[in-house]
């Protein structure tokens, strides 16, 4: 059984299990178990988090149809009204607990329409790339019941570690458009709603493995979070921000990135907290707070890391109280080449990493370094990768990654009845 992104399919439901429905509400109670207490606690967080997530208000509930204990009639899309988990008390088995859920059915037993409201425009930049030349992109799972995408543009596929994606980018040559705004309709096939979804993962509290969190309540563990979408993932290892990419079959091309202020702030050496501020399958945002070497004079430094489904570029938005010439550098200082909008790294595992910035920077290719020309209280940067290196083509090449980075905007989805 899966509910939303929660892998209850890995978890055995122990009888007794009760389900009842009344009107458009469905209630379940069951006991569930996990192999370790840490895993159990993670599952409990995932279940409860589904009910308090303002960014993702409805989920798919699926059953393995061959399991004789579970009624396949309940497979469908639901809005969680109440999810309660009874935690084991001292003395009870630490890996068994009781779950009860009350859900409101959205569309009966059939598939809903998902409407993605998508609005983009050019990210303010000094590269300069003018409005009309940015290339917004959009990705949904490949396994679909139906979809009606944007007018014009080009469709392709992109393989993520959690499933194949149908990938659209705006390849139109009309340069007079003012950004792009559209309503896009789609519906994933059963069980595929979370393919390639943007996710926030946390380390289990016994440090053994990662689990996807739902909702916005995550443990505050500066070295225990990971922002990812099956194409790229990003985490803090205690000294550097690390990134690695999925090339279609393996995770590779891992790099480290340091941020620092080149005038007064010094190194952003300590990531003090990581807080999810948006957790939905189309986009996740983690807000990180930092101490720099001269924190008393600098005040607050906040970096929001933003990742959309299907994107290979993590966008970072640094904001602070005191202006400085902020800088980004790849930590092994791999020799780079200058490209429009940033730096292109040498090939690692056949792929070339990208450091991008929307602001005016001075680039030092030998040191993989970009420094703002003018002190500022904000710095917008991107860390991406050209999968396939010099042999890649649109939309995977670095020129496309830049134009995608510059297509800023917002996407929200609404689950609609048919």
């Amino acid at each position: 059984m899966t509910f939303g992104p929660v892998g209850l399919g890995d978890v055995e439901l122990i009888a007794p299990y009760e389900a009842s429905d009344s009107g458009d509400e469905v209630s379940f109670t069951a006991q569930f178990t996990a192999d370790t207490p840490a895993l159990w606690r993670a599952q409990a967080q995932q279940l409860v988090g589904c009910a308090n997530n303002p960014d993702e208000r409805a989920f798919e509930l699926t059953f393995d149809r061959t399991n004789p204990l579970l009624d396949p009639a309940f497979i469908g899309w639901y809005e969680p009204l109440d999810i309660a988990v009874d935690r084991p008390l001292a003395g009870e088995h630490a890996c068994v607990g009781e779950l009860s859920m009350t859900l409101r059915r959205i569309t009966g037993y059939s598939a809903p329409r998902i409407e993605s409201l998508f609005d983009t425009w050019i990210l303010a930049n000094t590269i300069p790339v003018t409005d009309g030349y940015q290339r917004p992109h959009w990705a949904i799972p490949s396994a679909l019941i139906e979809f009606d995408g944007p007018a014009g543009g080009t469709w392709g596929t992109r393989q993520s570690s959690t499933g194949e994606l149908r990938f659209w980018w705006d390849s139109r040559t009309d340069t007079n458009r003012d950004g792009f705004a559209d309503s896009l309709f789609w519906c994933p096939a059963e069980g595929h709603a979370y393919d390639g979804a943007a996710t926030i993962e946390c380390k289990l509290d016994d440090d053994s493995d990662w689990f996807t969190i739902t909702g916005l309540w995550a443990p505050n563990q500066p070295q225990g979070w990971r922002l990812g979408n099956g194409c790229v993932r990003c985490w803090w290892d205690g000294t550097t921000l690390r990134f690695e990419w999925y090339d279609g079959s393996v995770w590779e091309t891992q790099i480290g990135v340091n941020l620092f202020g080149s005038l007064a702030a010094g190194d952003l050496a300590t990531l003090t907290s990581a807080t999810p501020i948006r957790n939905s399958s189309e986009e996740c945002v983690i807000r990180t707070t930092w101490f720099c070497e001269s924190v008393e004079t600098m005040g607050r430094v906040v970096v929001d890391l933003v990742l959309r489904r299907g994107s290979r570029m993590v966008t970072g938005i640094l904001k602070c109280d005191t202006a400085d010439k902020w800088a980004i550098q790849e930590v092994t200082e791999t020799n780079c080449n200058t490209i429009t909008g940033g730096l292109l790294g040498a090939a690692i595992n056949g792929n070339r990493f990208l450091l991008m910035s929307a602001d005016t920077v001075t680039k030092t290719t030998a040191d993989a370094l970009m420094v703002l020309d003018t002190s500022s209280t904000s710095f917008v940067f991107g860390v991406g990768c050209e999968i396939g290196g010099s042999g890649s083509s649109t939309p995977n090449n670095y020129a496309s990654e830049l134009l995608g980075f510059l297509a800023a905007g917002s996407e929200r989805k609404v689950i609609r009845e048919r």
């Binding site: 303002p54 609005d119 948006r278 430094v301 929001d304 602070c320 800023a408």
Partner: protein, 413 residues
């Protein structure tokens, strides 16, 4: 405890005192003890932080106040709470019924400062001159023809003429001037329902819900102001180029529409020339948009000391239509956003526990200008809505109808 404030209009306020308020305090609040000893018309002072009035000078309370109101009504219920209410200090210039400082006026070649000074100095007592931001322009000439007019009506004429505004501050100083000079152009806060916390580089973040309305109900192609010039009726008109064609409403290029949409208003008194009437019409046209866009916002985390009335607010919620694609981009909550800017024209908010509330009357124990202060904060019944505020916003200009609607109806309907 609710306060309602409106640009250039009276607004209102209401307090409920807890049932266990000492008799001693309640007695001092009596509107009328005798004809020579009463608390009516006293001043309500609200400050962001509560302080016992004996510990600080009353002048400091006035300096820190974010609201000053005039006490007018007291309501007792048997075995129930005491309710006090009143309105803003604008009532001294003309209240919601048109009562107030009525007198006749004669303006001959009055510049901006002289025009406003003559309103302010004529018997308004404690309302002292604040700051003027003089927008310049032709002098104002007008004769009320020996008829009694309220000061607020005259201010309407003066401000249409100079394209300016006025306000009374909580410390009872009077400011007047061009809007952007008086309130600044920096947005005072940002309404972003999907953001979670204040961020560096942005004004304070407010959350809640919003209703956004756009209408063409008040559209007029011509404003015609009818008045008397040199003893003869005259009309001054102002027009806008945009003119929907009635058989094809979206064909704005039609040069001769079958019907024009005109709006008439009458003004009193004697005007110097038809150019003055035209200036009145232009003043109205300047402030009434082709389409009227208002937003009602309900804020859940409002802080009363923000003093938002008259200032610009940024609003961003693209999926609710709160977006302006021509605006400068900001980053908020990890999103790139293009917020729309609207101006706060009316506010209704509650106070939270911890605010200071004082009544400044003829009774009480601490004096300012020989008039005592009563400390009410310990006895206020703070309601559950203390942190919510309802804010009405319009485009970055007031619609004069909003500012005048409780009082002045010179538009002929």
């Amino acid at each position: 405890m609710t306060i309602n404030q409106v640009l250039m209009a009276c607004g209102s306020w209401e307090i409920t005192l807890r049932p266990n308020t000492p008799r001693e305090i309640v007695d001092q609040l009596r509107i009328r003890e005798s004809d020579t000893n009463f608390s009516g018309f006293g001043g309500l002072i609200c400050t962001p932080v509560d302080a016992d009035p004996v510990l600080c000078s009353p002048a400091e309370l006035y300096r820190r106040a974010f609201y000053y109101g005039v006490y007018r009504t007291q309501e007792f219920a048997t075995n129930g709470p005491v309710r006090l209410s009143g309105c803003g200090p604008e009532m001294w210039l003309g209240d919601e019924d048109g009562k107030g400082h009525l007198r006749s006026y004669l303006f001959t070649s009055a510049d901006f400062e002289a025009a406003h000074d003559s309103i302010r100095t004529l018997g308004l007592g404690d309302i002292t001159k604040g700051t003027y931001w003089d927008p310049g322009g032709d002098p104002f000439e007008w004769d009320s023809d020996n008829k009694l007019v309220s000061a607020r009506d005259v201010l309407t004429y003066i401000n249409r003429h100079f394209s300016s505004e006025w306000r009374i501050n909580p410390d009872l100083t009077y400011d007047a001037g061009e809007r952007t000079a008086m309130y600044g152009t920096t947005p005072a806060a940002i309404f972003a329902p999907n953001a979670y916390a204040n961020e560096p580089g942005l004004p304070p973040v407010l959350g809640g819900t919003a209703t956004h309305t756009v209408t063409v109900e008040d559209f007029a192609q011509f404003i015609d102001i009818e008045g008397e010039v040199s003893g003869v009726p005259a009309v001054g008109s102002s027009s806008r180029v945009l003119k929907p064609n009635w058989s094809d409403p979206w064909n704005f290029d039609a040069s001769t529409p079958a019907i024009t949409m005109r709006r008439r208003a009458q003004v009193n008194g004697k005007w110097a020339d038809s150019a003055s009437l035209e200036a009145q019409a232009t003043g109205v046209m300047l402030f009434s948009e082709v389409y009227q866009e208002t937003t009602e916002v309900e804020i859940t985390n409002y802080e009363p000391h923000l003093r938002l009335l008259g200032k610009d607010l940024l609003l961003t919620e693209p999926s609710a239509g709160l977006v302006d694609r021509t605006a400068d981009m900001i980053h908020i909550a990890g999103q790139a956003a293009r917020p729309m800017t609207q101006r706060v024209v009316e506010m209704e908010f509650g106070l939270r526990p911890g605010c200071g509330v004082y009544l400044h009357t003829s009774k009480g124990t601490v004096t300012r200008n020989s008039r005592p202060l009563i400390h009410l904060s310990p006895w206020i019944d703070w309601t559950a809505e203390a942190r919510t505020a309802r804010i009405t916003l319009g485009r970055s200009r007031p619609t004069w109808e909003q500012a005048l609607r409780d009082h002045y109806s010179d538009f002929i309907t």
